[in-house]
Structures are given as structure tokens and as C-alpha cells.
């Protein structure tokens, strides 16, 4: 479940109060905010379940089949605990009820839930009951639950979010990749986690950079990511991946060349950027990294996946099916194209191919023979 942090509260309060987030931060009682958020973390430590609840009108996920985060009952309780905590601690002294309700609604929305709070008069009574202590969060959650419906979040991974408690003191995280051609492409949360996992695993092995054999287990370890979902759909378990990667890398000593600027390692992320661009996405998700592993110049990950029945084509098809969107331009099925493309379409495709080739060269990768032929 996505939780709110102090930065979220500042932005929400800024909107509610009609001031900038910075001005809202100036008005923030940080200790009160931390105390309020700490109360919500008690709820967060409960078992995280995903999927439809056992009953009730709010059951079911979004129309695209992707479930909202957590059961509606959990979301309702977490929201009312958050609202009650903000009402009690009043991190923003001005219009604290508005800020608390706005924060509760935003929490629900971030987790894929939408509340129908009409008529507003009844909601005001519930909020006042929470504020006075006459209603418990559980009582309010029971009232809220039948008013929740899935808000059908877009079929993409959660955007990169940081948590103040753990990351605020780190240098700004490298939360994406910037290239002169594409600009800044942020990692999704899951992609960021996968990169961190892969780096940690590479570090544990004494490598300067993670390679495909570190990325693949890291991708599947991010259970909510598109890559992990796709591999699960293909019947591939995390344990099977780890075992197969270990078998393959065990046949090559050393499994992966180490040292600064290892060309092989440096190819994964540029390829992931290429996959994101080819799909027309403005972010880098786990699926882009997964696809990049097939073209990273090392066949460890590809071998492991192929031996488990998931070749590049199967993986691409599964990603396309999961996302319910057309595949990348360069992988569009030829039979779907018009027999005689129009001139403007040909020019557009040529520009696109040239742009992608430039992107690869930008990262020291010469497009392969196949690419040139298709260009």
C-alpha cells in the first residue's frame, strides 16, 4: 500500500490552503506530522493482501483486471486512521479538517480507490465524530467501506516515490536516467528497487556493476512489477530463475567481467532506455529492463529464461498482453502494416529508426546488422 509522507502532506496542504508547498512546509509542525504518520504505520504493518475482498459492494479491481492495492477494508481503515491521526495531531493548524480529509482521499486515490462521500453533510458528521473521539477509525471505516470503488489506476507501475524515514538523508537518489536524446526518464518504484537489488547483489559478489545475471533475479524479486508479473504468467518462479542463473553462471569463470566501465554492464540500462522509447513510454519500468536483458550483449539471462520456456518473443507477447497496448514500433507485426505504406508514414518510421540508432550510438552501441536492415 502506498503511504503518505511529510512531503505528501506539505503538497496536499499547499493545495488545500492555496499556498505553495514550501509555504505549507513553513507552517508544518513536523513533530506533529511525524506523530500522525507514525500512527498510520501501525496499520501498515498488518499483512498486505492483494485482490478482491471477501464480500461487500466495494469488491473487485479496476476494469483492466489489475487489482487496486490491498483489500478495500484495509484501505478504508488505513484512510480513517490517517484522518483521525491528522485531526488529533494537527500538523497544519489552519483548516486541519480539510487537510486531513484531503490527505485521506489522496491516500485512497494513490492506492486505486475512490470514495463517494455524498451527501457531504453525512461525511461532515463522521469527520466531526472522528475528531471528537465519538467515532473510532474502525467505525468510520465501516461507514466508508461501502462508499469505496476502484478508481482504475493506469496500467503501469507506481511512480517513483521516496520515504522520508529511510531515504531523506541520502544524497538525492538516482531515480532515473537522463540522456541528451530522451531527457530524463524516471524509474518506476519497482524498477528502482530492481536496480538497487541488482547493485547490492553485484557488490556482494565484488563486481563493480550488475550484469544480466544480477538483474534477472532482482527483477523477479520485485513481486508487483510488470516483469515479475509477466514471468509469473509464463510459469516461471523466482526460485527457478535463481537456480538456472546459478547453473549458467557457474559454467563461466568469472561469470562476468568486472571493473569500471565494463562494457557489458553498461549496456543494460541504455537498452532499457531504448525499450522505453520504442514503446513510447516516458519512464523506465521493470519490463523495459527485462527486455533489455535479451539484447545486452550477454546471453546469461536470455539463456536462463529460454531454458525455462520464455524466449524474447514470449516475454514481449506477455508484456503486451499484460499491458493491453500495442508493442514497440520496431516489433510491430509486419502483417498488421498496410501493404503499401504512405510516404509520410515511411518518413516517420525512418525518423524513428534514425532516432533510435542515434540513441544507441549515444551510449557507444553500434546498431546491429539486423537493425540496419530494418532501417
Amino acid at each position: 500500500m502506498i503511504t503518505l509522507d511529510v512531503a505528501d502532506l506539505a503538497v496536499i496542504a499547499g493545495h488545500v490552503l492555496g499556498i505553495s508547498p514550501g509555504a505549507a512546509l513553513d507552517r508544518l509542525d513536523l513533530a506533529a506530522a511525524q506523530a500522525a504518520l507514525a500512527e498510520t504505520e501501525v496499520v501498515e504493518t498488518g499483512p498486505a493482501e492483494t485482490g478482491p475482498a471477501d464480500g461487500g459492494p466495494a469488491d473487485g479491481g479496476p476494469a483492466d483486471g489489475r487489482p487496486a492495492d490491498g483489500r478495500p477494508a484495509d484501505a478504508a481503515l488505513a484512510a480513517t486512521v490517517l484522518i483521525r491521526a491528522l485531526l488529533r495531531h494537527r500538523p497544519f493548524p489552519d483548516r486541519s479538517q480539510q487537510v486531513a480529509v484531503a490527505a485521506g482521499l489522496q491516500f485512497l486515490a494513490l492506492n486505486g480507490w475512490q470514495a463517494d462521500l455524498d451527501p457531504p453533510g453525512a461525511t461532515v458528521m463522521v469527520i466531526e465524530g472522528l475528531a471528537s473521539g465519538q467515532l473510532s477509525p474502525a467505525d468510520a471505516a465501516a461507514w466508508l467501506l461501502p462508499r469505496l470503488s476502484s478508481s482504475a489506476p493506469p496500467a503501469r507501475e507506481k511512480p517513483m516515490r521516496t520515504r522520508l524515514r529511510l531515504r531523506a538523508l541520502d544524497p538525492p537518489p538516482r531515480a532515473g536516467i537522463h540522456t541528451p536524446v530522451t531527457g530524463f526518464l524516471p524509474f518506476t518504484d519497482d524498477a528502482h528497487d530492481a536496480v538497487v537489488f541488482a547493485r547490492e547483489e553485484a557488490s556482494r559478489l565484488g563486481l563493480d556493476h550488475p550484469g544480466p545475471e544480477q538483474f534477472l533475479p532482482a527483477l523477479i524479486a520485485t513481486g508487483d512489477g510488470v516483469a515479475a508479473q509477466v514471468l509469473r504468467r509464463l510459469g516461471i518462479s523466482p526460485e527457478a530463475v535463481r537456480q538456472r542463473v546459478a547453473q549458467i553462471t557457474g559454467q563461466h569463470q568469472p561469470p562476468y567481467p568486472s571493473g569500471p566501465g565494463t562494457p557489458l554492464a553498461m549496456r543494460v540500462m541504455p537498452r532499457a532506455v531504448g525499450e522505453a522509447v520504442a514503446h513510447g513510454h516516458d519512464y523506465i519500468g521493470t519490463e523495459h529492463i527485462l527486455l533489455a536483458l535479451f539484447r545486452a550483449g550477454d546471453d546469461t539471462a536470455a539463456q536462463a529464461l529460454a531454458s525455462l520456456g520464455a524466449g524474447e518473443r514470449e516475454v514481449r507477447d506477455a508484456i503486451t498482453a499484460l499491458r493491453g497496448e500495442p508493442g514497440p514500433i520496431r516489433h510491430a507485426p509486419r502483417r498488421a502494416r498496410k501493404p503499401v505504406p504512405r510516404d509520410d508514414e515511411i518518413r516517420r518510421l525512418r525518423r524513428e529508426v534514425a532516432r533510435l540508432c542515434d540513441l544507441l550510438r549515444e551510449h557507444g552501441i553500434e546498431p546491429g546488422e539486423g537493425d540496419r536492415k530494418s532501417a
Binding site: L30, S96, A109, P120
Partner: protein
């Protein structure tokens, strides 16, 4: 650990941070390595988080949708007393 953020000018305010020991240790380590005060590092970290969230388009869109959809409710709550 309790750390008071000192106010050096009219643009700053006093805040009290109650940090868990691990976080406090990391905060102190970063400040020492970078030769800055704990207050500066903490203030910068919070400001950076706020700025990042402000630029989060999905977050902003959801928030604006929510506030618009529940405008009547929020108006009714407007008069709560400090």
C-alpha cells in the same frame, strides 16, 4: 535523538525532529562527511522531497481531481476552529 533545527534568518523556522537512532546516525554521518550542520542536511532533504512530490504529475492530478470532486464537502469543513 531530538535535534533542533536552528533558525538563522527570517526564512527559517524552528523545528524539532524526533528521529529513530538509525536515522539520526545516518543524518549525523552525512552532515559530518559533507561538513555541514545536521539542520542543513535535514532541511535540504525535506525540501528536496517536497519538490520531488510537487513535480509528481500523477500525484498532482489525483489530488486536483479529489479536491474538485469533493469541493462541496471541503467547503463545509472550512470553518473548523484551530
Amino acid at each position: 535523538m531530538t535535534e533542533a533545527l536552528e533558525s538563522g534568518s527570517a526564512r527559517t523556522k524552528n523545528m524539532v525532529l524526533r528521529l529513530d537512532p538509525v536515522l539520526a546516525e545516518r543524518l549525523a554521518a552525512v552532515a559530518e562527511v559533507e561538513g555541514r550542520t545536521v539542520s542543513d542536511v535535514a532541511r535540504e532533504a525535506i525540501a528536496a522531497l517536497v519538490e520531488a512530490r510537487r513535480k509528481d504529475q500523477r500525484f498532482r492530478r489525483l489530488l486536483e481531481d479529489n479536491l474538485a470532486r469533493h469541493q462541496r464537502l471541503l467547503e463545509l469543513l472550512r470553518d473548523d476552529q484551530p
